[in-house]
Symmetry: C2
Subunit: 138 residues, 2 copies
């Protein structure tokens, strides 16, 4: 038989039965970010991917980091910026972002609005490495 | 070096530089559906997945089909229904749907609204097989 189908109802950027998680364990590396794993968890092993929703409160930011696995991102809510290597790019609802392997990146809610986005990754992936914020080549 | 980063700006459920494509080649199997491949195309070979946006006009529907690869879906626009095996489930903006391997499925814009959704699949996948609409076990 395999896995069962599942519909996850949404209510204002929360999803039924989906836990609102802390973004990462070290709070000194980010500010005002939550994580919800929407698809690709237990019972959905046929998916080679995970679909996660991250929300950054106004003024907040994700970790400045890099890793081997790429990111496929679609913004669901608000406006902000994506730091992509040495560039910074304004993003808003429904814009898409491709982050290739090893590119230093960060998401910032720097437009006075909550920034929410879906980020799709491989189920099996390497661990993110934090990049010092004073790194000259960033 | 590898791939370059990319931000794709959105404007009213169209994306800059993204072609609005026909959903499938045989128009007798569906009605009022368009496809836009947002991420995972040329230059993004590091992604093991493709992120596509499908839009179904009011009264339209996708092919009733099955295949080995699973689907991870998030609704971006409107309301409608997902046919999932012998069930039909109402869906609306930001709801998520997991479609496991070999489950017969279809999306219907049967609420008088345009239904738009992102569907993420493996880059390498099997071909969909159409299911006759009079199939008793559907």
């Amino acid at each position: 038989m395999g896995d069962s189908w599942r519909v996850i109802a949404s209510r204002g950027f929360r999803w039924d039965g989906v836990e609102l998680e802390r973004y990462k364990s070290d709070p000194s590396l980010f500010d005002g970010v939550t994580r919800q794993v929407l698809l690709g968890g237990a019972g959905e092993e046929a998916l080679a991917l995970e679909l996660r929703y991250f929300e950054v409160e106004p003024g907040g930011y994700t970790t400045l980091e890099r890793h081997r696995h790429p990111h496929a991102v679609i913004v669901l809510r608000g406006r902000g910026s994506a730091v992509l290597g040495s560039d910074s790019h304004r993003i808003q609802s429904h814009d898409c972002v491709y982050i290739p392997p090893e590119l230093v990146h960060q998401f910032r809610a720097d437009c006075g609005e909550t920034l929410g986005f879906v980020c799709v990754v491989d189920r099996v992936r390497d661990r993110a490495r934090q990049v010092p914020t004073d790194r000259p080549e960033m």
